[in-house]
């Protein structure tokens, strides 16, 4: 098998912004002194007059984005997830969410795959924070193809959207020519009957790997890619859970408030099903190479395989 191509989704974000910027005059991009890292620097280079570096002031950047949106612009504001969703949470809630302004939040460096910078910069809480805001769409793409499609869909959607991107280069698993993205529509990557593995973001690739290992043991796992955590594709989750009767969620995020919680919210109410949540188990991260951290915190294919096997 040939080497899988790897691209960080923040790179996809930067590329997508440039492509959209060529077509749409009203698209503006804001950053808070992290244009090199969030990859909005690519847009800055292409369209300097439509790029606004707000300096290290995320709260103000959020308000400025709201002001742009109130004047008909389509602002994409970027920082690390820790600062876009964490530091500026109340600004996002009150200046963007409450007036339901058409602002897109492109948050990079989400999760523990930030790596060496350590816990202060590893945001495992952003999905929980953002999905609590009424009317906020929350998208966590799994690869380059999906990330670029998500940015385009976010642009076309009228309303606030939180887009979660990563620092780590991850395998491209989707075929651009066949791939179709729709906000709120989950994707069945592998059909199965014994257990449903619902994954999001970089964990989708790992979940597929785990499913292959399970298959060798005679366990037929269904794998769902949930790129949109809000609104959640409830119908898909319910249908799969009804089929397999056992659900596992996998995310590079706290098990409190993220994908696992969103899935449990639906299943508890509409079709009680046993769920095992794989994710960051209510702890802070730490410094280290991203790939090693993914293994240590149990989010790689091998660990997912072991946990699912023990679970069923």
């Amino acid at each position: 098998m040939s080497e899988v191509k790897k691209i960080a989704t923040r790179e996809s974000y930067g590329n997508a912004l440039v492509e959209l910027g060529k077509i749409h005059e009203e698209l503006v991009v804001l950053d808070a002194d992290l244009a090199g890292a969030t990859k909005t620097g690519m847009f800055k280079k292409a369209f300097p007059e439509r790029f606004f570096d707000c300096g290290i002031a995320e709260a103000n950047m959020t308000g400025i984005a709201a002001g742009f949106a109130a004047c008909g612009k389509v602002p994409f504001m970027s920082s690390f997830a820790m600062f876009a969703a964490g530091r500026a949470f109340e600004q996002v809630r009150n200046s963007i969410g409450y007036p339901h302004l058409n602002v897109k939040i492109g948050a990079s460096h989400a999760g523990i795959s930030v790596g060496e910078d350590g816990a202060s910069h590893q945001c495992n809480e952003d999905i929980a924070l953002m999905r609590m805001i009424p009317g906020m769409v929350v998208i966590n793409p799994c690869d380059d193809v999906e990330a670029r499609a998500a940015v385009k869909a976010a642009y076309e959607y009228d309303g606030p959207v939180y887009l979660r991107f990563g620092r780590l280069a991850i395998p491209v698993i989707n075929d651009e020519n066949k791939y179709e993205f729709e906000i709120g529509k989950g994707i069945v990557l592998k059909e199965g009957k014994d257990v449903t593995i619902i994954a999001t973001g970089l964990c989708v690739y790992e979940a597929l790997g785990a499913a292959r290992m399970l298959e060798e043991d005679g366990i037929d796992a269904e794998v769902l890619n949930i790129h949109t955590i809000k609104p959640l594709d409830e119908a898909l989750v319910l249908a799969s859970a009804a089929k397999t009767k056992k659900v596992v969620t996998v995310e590079e995020h706290s098990v409190i408030g993220g994908l696992g919680s969103a899935v449990c919210d639906v299943l508890c109410e509409k079709a009680p099903t046993q769920v095992m949540k794989i994710g960051i188990q209510d702890v802070f991260g730490e410094s280290g190479p991203a790939v090693e951290l993914i293994q240590k915190y149990g989010l790689d294919a091998e660990n997912i395989y072991k946990k699912v096997k023990a679970y069923i």
């Binding site: 007059e49 300096g55 103000n60 002001g67 742009f68 109130a70 109340e90 009150n94 200046s95």
Partner: protein
């Protein structure tokens, strides 16, 4: 418009404020009354707005960064014709579009939802930057409280506005000297306010915020300033126009009872009659 006419309108706006807060049995009369003359000048003289087309693209924008003085903004909008004056009595009632703090989604003439202090000014700065980007001629006005400028976000926004030379932007600071916990210089002094904004590359004008000649002069001067935003520090009296509310921090966020309401309205009626005899 002549000063006398503006004074009459301001008096009506003050009556609207007192009525709205009394009807709601809660709200913020002190800072609404201190800013009533500023609201009057902005909506009846300074700004290019159209009550029939509240969202016309070339309108001037106003952001009430100190969103809690919504009764003042609503009374000004109502008297300017954006919605019926009678609706002011529905303030803060369940089902009313007149929310406790400005809600741009449902209130005609409200350009930004505000209420969480420090945030509105950033949005105003964004609007000014958007206007510059599109070579639009509209101007953007924001009203902040003197206590509100304790919020760090005000200074983040000011740094950006000064850096970007947003000369289509005017920030008015309602310097009534009082916040919930007492005098601003005793709680956590923001003084000197003028020097702070100067240091953030603003053109600063300090005026008596109840003198229409001074207010007019400041806004005209702001229009002539190129290459920097303007901050107008308006020295005002909290509770202005209702003698028992004046200079009392306790009237920051409390509503008059029936007796107090009657006394306040009587005083404002008399003030109105006196203006009519001028």
């Amino acid at each position: 418009m002549e000063n006398l006419q503006l004074q009459k309108i301001a008096n009506e706006i003050r009556k609207g404020i007192v009525t709205a807060v009394y009807s709601a049995k809660s709200g913020h009369p002190g800072g609404s009354l201190s800013a009533a003359d500023i609201f009057t000048y902005l909506y009846f003289e300074e700004m290019n707005v159209d009550p029939v087309h509240p969202r016309k693209p070339d309108r001037d924008r106003f952001v009430l960064s100190k969103g809690h003085v919504a009764p003042g903004l609503y009374a000004a909008l109502a008297h300017r014709g954006f919605f019926p004056v009678a609706d002011l009595s529905s303030l803060r009632h369940v089902g009313s579009y007149l929310q406790g703090h400005p809600d741009m989604k449902c209130i005609p003439g409200v350009d930004m939802s505000t209420g969480s202090l420090g945030q509105g000014f950033s949005a105003a700065v964004g609007m000014a930057a958007a206007g510059k980007l599109d070579n639009q001629n509209y101007r953007v006005y924001a009203l902040a409280g003197d206590g509100e400028i304790q919020e760090g976000q005000i200074w983040e926004a000011s740094m950006f506005a000064g850096h970007r030379k947003l000369d289509n932007l005017v920030l008015i600071v309602d310097n009534n000297g009082l916040q919930i916990d007492g005098k601003i210089e005793e709680v956590c002094s923001p003084y000197p306010i003028d020097k702070k904004f100067e240091a953030f590359n603003f053109h600063v004008i300090t005026i008596d915020g109840h003198d229409f000649d001074a207010i007019r002069g400041a806004f005209r001067e702001a229009r002539k300033i190129k290459g920097m935003p303007t901050a107008i520090i308006a020295n005002t009296v909290k509770g202005k126009g209702v003698s028992f509310m004046e200079n009392q921090a306790s009237w920051h966020g409390s509503a008059p009872n029936e007796e107090q309401y009657k006394a306040a309205m009587e005083e404002l009626e008399k003030a109105g009659e006196a203006l009519c005899q001028k």
